[in-house]
């Protein structure tokens, strides 16, 4: 077994309030390099919550998330942001592209934040990413001029901008037609296979989930499949 890229140790998340709500609890999960994992389960079972915890977008109220062997329990907000920037990439159900920026501009945002290379080089890399996802000729357009499937692919390109170790996708095909959805999943499968990128996606589409290399099933905030192999 390869070393775990993302590891959850007994994580739980409780929303505080007069009546505390448990989103997920007691989750042990270990995901290795190049795995393509589907998190499935009925609505409200805590799929997205788990994904946000694994993606360091939210903090667990118990347990800890270990990213590439680093325990993130003690990291402050800025350190988590830095990890998200360099190691993780998010794709959501909604594309969340900035409407004023071109397609290329959107893909370049994470690159520019990370910095370290001259602008021209970033531009070339972003263009190559778009070519790779079949959007080479759309680079100068605004997101509003693209179709839903194209926008979602731009969002994937943006998630891939800083060559992350893990892609986290939250219902990435939720707003797409079957054909576009299949394209997105093909891209994920290829990424996992060819570049060793770990892909974790939340979906409730059984057909798509069947195409992944591993399924993690959640019911009422608890894993019903073994999380650690």
């Amino acid at each position: 077994m390869t070393a775990a890229v993302v590891e959850a140790r007994g994580i739980g998340r409780v929303l505080p309030g007069p009546v505390p709500v448990t989103l997920v609890e007691g989750i042990d999960l270990s995901i290795g390099e190049g795995e393509f994992v589907a998190i499935t389960g009925p609505s409200g079972s805590g799929k997205s919550s788990l994904l946000y915890l694994l993606g360091l977008l939210d903090r667990p109220t118990s347990g800890t998330v270990i990213l590439e062997g680093r325990d993130t329990a003690e990291a402050d907000a800025a350190e988590l942001a830095a990890l998200r920037l360099s190691k993780l990439g998010f794709v959501f159900q909604f594309h969340f592209l900035l409407p004023e920026f071109t397609v290329l501009g959107n893909v370049m945002i994470p690159m520019r934040k990370l910095g370290g290379s001259p602008e021209a080089e970033l531009r070339t890399r972003a263009q190559a990413l778009l070519e790779d996802l079949g959007l080479g000729d759309q680079a100068a357009k605004l997101p509003s001029q693209l179709s839903g499937g194209q926008r979602q692919r731009v969002a994937i390109a943006r998630a891939l901008a800083n060559r992350p170790r893990v892609i986290l996708a939250d219902e990435p095909t939720g707003n797409l037609d079957t054909k576009s959805a299949q394209t997105v999943f093909d891209i994920f499968a290829r990424l996992a296979r060819e570049t060793g990128t770990t892909v974790i996606t939340v979906t409730h589409d059984e057909g798509l989930a069947a195409q992944t290399s591993r399924r993690v099933n959640l019911v009422d905030g608890r894993l019903v499949t073994p999380g650690v192999r």
Binding site: A77, F96, I109
Partner: protein
């Protein structure tokens, strides 16, 4: 597109709301512009007034008075005891500065001081059927010219003509015109002591300060002593300094040495400076009010942007921008509005000041003048600029902090 990412984000945000941005910028610009024009106007007037006051009167005046009433012998004998005296009347003294000659010659030795003795007292000036009360100041002309700039204010004749004419008098232009007297006219001066002196107008002055021009006349010290029946008495020592601003300290030193009440020009015009302070307070609060309104405009536009762009903020945070990045992005927008507003305000301020400078009118009052006195000062531009930057930074800070604190998970869940 070599701009930094945050600046790029900030620009898209404010350029996305052009009209609101322009209104906010104009708000700041008007605030800064008015401040500059008002500051130029007020400081110009105050500066002119102070100059006039300083030049027209001595910098320090030693009077034949004491600040504290004399201690009664019985109170001195029972120091700390409770002393009550009934029917106490002040002693009927011959007023005047004792040993004035010694004091004058001693003070003359101090560096940077010009000293002139004088005796002033009330007189009635009578010319034909016109009666006017005035203060007749007895002076030694050759000393006086070194103490006040009265000589420069002479419209006709010279102060030194007092010495050459038998019974010369130099009076304010306003006083002369009220009496109907002209150069060379003879009139009667009557003192409270009952002495009547026939005097001849040998000079007229105009200081620009109405109370002086209409209420003062100068005669020789010797004649004043005769007129007031106070032989060899002087009741004022007038002093001019090289260093105008040292007046307060020098006055305190003289008073400590001789005990006589010694007034600096600042103390003598305390009331006027109080008015100036109130004027400045009014100016700053008016400008402050304009800037607060402008700040609300900035607050409004940035709050709107924060609300509208909450999804963008969420995704930027998920990408890995820190809270500080988000805060800076919105703070920058406020500062950009503030800066553009300040520069525009400088132009407006400059224009308004020039406009005020070109206006001519005729107004009498405490001071007679025909135009606005304007103080051109770079510091007004700096203060105005700082005002607007601080206001816009504070106005932007509040929504910027809110944006930075937003939880991306909540926004993404809400949007999905």
């Amino acid at each position: 597109m070599a701009r930094p990412l945050l600046l790029d984000l900030a620009l898209t945000h404010i350029l996305g709301r052009k009209r609101q941005t322009i209104v906010s910028v104009l708000g700041v610009a008007l605030g800064v512009g008015f401040f500059i024009a008002m500051a130029a106007l007020m400081q110009g007037f105050q500066g002119y007034f102070v100059d006039t006051v300083i030049n027209a009167s001595p910098h320090i005046t030693v009077r034949d008075q004491f600040r504290e009433p004399a201690v009664q012998p019985v109170a001195a004998a029972f120091r700390g005891g409770a002393v009550l005296l009934h029917g106490l009347k002040p002693r009927d003294e011959i007023r005047g500065i004792r040993k004035a000659g010694t004091i004058v010659s001693a003070l003359s030795e101090w560096p940077g001081l010009s000293v002139a003795p004088s005796l002033d007292g009330p007189v009635i000036l009578r010319y034909g059927s016109a009666d006017k009360s005035a203060v007749a100041i007895g002076i030694v002309p050759e000393r006086e010219v070194r103490v006040t700039q009265l000589e420069d204010d002479m419209v006709e004749g010279h102060l030194t003509d007092l010495a050459s004419a038998a019974n010369g008098i130099v009076m304010g232009l306003g006083l002369a015109s009220k009496l109907g007297a002209k150069m060379g006219d003879s009139l009667n001066a009557i003192s409270p002591a009952g002495v009547i002196l026939r005097v001849k107008v040998v000079g007229l002055f105009r200081t620009g300060i109405v109370s002086l021009d209409e209420g003062q006349a100068y005669i020789l010290l010797k004649k004043a002593q005769i007129l007031q029946s106070r032989a060899n008495v002087i009741n004022q020592i007038r002093i001019r300094l090289m260093e105008v601003d040292a007046a307060r300290e020098v006055a305190a030193r003289i008073e400590a040495l001789y005990g006589y009440r010694t007034e600096s020009w600042q103390e003598a015009n305390e009331g006027v400076f109080g008015v100036f302070r109130i004027q400045n307070a009014i100016m700053y609060s008016t400008v402050g009010a304009i800037m607060i309104v402008a700040a609300f405009g900035i607050y409004n536009i940035i709050s709107t942007v924060v609300y509208e762009k909450s999804r963008d903020i969420a995704i930027l945070k998920s990408i890995g921008l820190t809270e500080a990045d988000i805060r800076r992005t919105f703070l920058m927008q406020g500062l950009m509005i503030g800066m553009i507003g300040a520069v525009l305000g400088w132009i407006i301020g400059f224009g308004l000041t020039s406009l005020l400078g070109s206006i001519r009118f005729d107004v009498g009052g405490m001071v007679r003048n025909d135009r606005f006195f304007l103080a051109w000062s770079l510091s007004h531009y700096w203060i105005g600029g700082m005002f607007s930057l601080v206001a816009s930074a504070v106005a932007a800070w509040i929504p910027a902090r809110r944006a930075a604190a937003a939880n991306p998970v909540d926004i993404i869940r809400g949007a999905a």
